[in-house]
Amino acid sequence: MTLRPELLPLLFALTLASFACRAGGFWLMRFVAVTPRLRATLAAAPLSVMLGIVTPAALRGGLPEIVGLAATFLAMHLWRRDLVATFVGVGAVAVCRFVQ
């Protein structure tokens, strides 16, 4: 159980940067009125960010990742349960990597 004092400035800086991202967007919205149009804009953001996470993974992925995504989509299509679909996808990736 050691804590090297020389790490503290970096740890503190990383903590601040991380919290600035978490709080910054919320804080900025104080100065912007939430109109129906802005609401529609923000409502589109979640789906878009998630596609922004999935797209690069799909493009860079090998066979296991592609199979994993397909399994996720199929499970979602069948059961409409996001968490079930998530673990079906992860399981498919694990099986593919094991077989490969």
Binding site: M1, T15, A23, A40, G68, H77, R80
Partner: protein, 220 residues
């Protein structure tokens, strides 16, 4: 209760980071402190090497901060999207809730809100239920050392992608979602091809949001 299976996944994530931190030379206290304070899997994974090596002041700190800002810029969008809901809480409650903001709990909260959940405590509750397994997993990973030979074989790194794919299907509700989705995928594919970075998903979010903004039609 929906948080339980994902919480289990987060423990495995935390375990993975605990193992990485141990490899980088961090003590148990140092790695669990990092998970408690920075609380971001990708950002911690990217900066733990510098922390383990012992810091060169100045440049090392700046690079670390830039890395965290790039990887976590998506939280700006998350926080902004929570304003209409979380804005009803007191500032102290809101910022305390935001401290625990993470990908999974934000996605879960967004979904719950769309389904009619209006209690902002849901965001805090789901946030803490991700935070605790993250820190707990880190401790376990730092302790467990050699038990898990290769977390990749368990598909652990695919967890976030699969979760986001499932959530995206959930969030895709009407025809008005088509254009923003196409914009997001296009921008993400282009950016990832030419300048892959933590900004890709931020740009995708901005592209989708901007498309929705441009295509918004005032109700007659």
């Amino acid at each position: 209760m929906r948080a339980v299976p994902i919480g289990v996944g987060v423990i495995v994530w935390g375990l993975t980071f605990g193992l990485m931190a141990r490899e980088a030379g961090l003590s148990l206290l140092e790695s669990s402190l990092m998970s408690t304070l920075v609380y971001s899997g990708t950002a911690q994974a990217a900066t733990v090497g510098g922390l383990g090596a012992g810091v060169q002041a100045g440049a090392g700190i700046l690079a670390g901060v830039a890395t965290v800002l790039m990887l976590n810029a998506r939280y700006l969008l998350y926080g902004a999207s929570l304003r209409p809901w979380l804005g009803h809480a007191t500032p102290a409650q809101a910022y305390a809730t935001l401290y625990f903001l993470g990908d999974a709990n934000w996605a879960m909260s967004t979904k719950a809100h769309a389904d009619g959940e209006n209690d902002a405590a849901f965001i805090l509750g789901s946030g803490v239920s991700m935070f605790l397994p993250w820190v707990g997993g880190t401790v376990l990973g730092a302790l467990a050392g050699n038990w898990i030979a290769d977390p990749r074989m368990l598909g652990v790194d695919f967890l976030l992608v699969a979760f986001c794919a499932a959530m995206a299907m959930d969030l895709f509700k009407s025809r008005s979602d088509i254009a923003p989705a196409i914009a997001a995928v296009t921008v993400a594919a282009l950016l990832d091809h030419f300048t892959p970075s933590g900004w890709t998903l931020v740009a995708a979010g901005v592209a989708g949001g901007l498309t929705a903004w441009l295509r918004y039609e005032e109700p007659a």
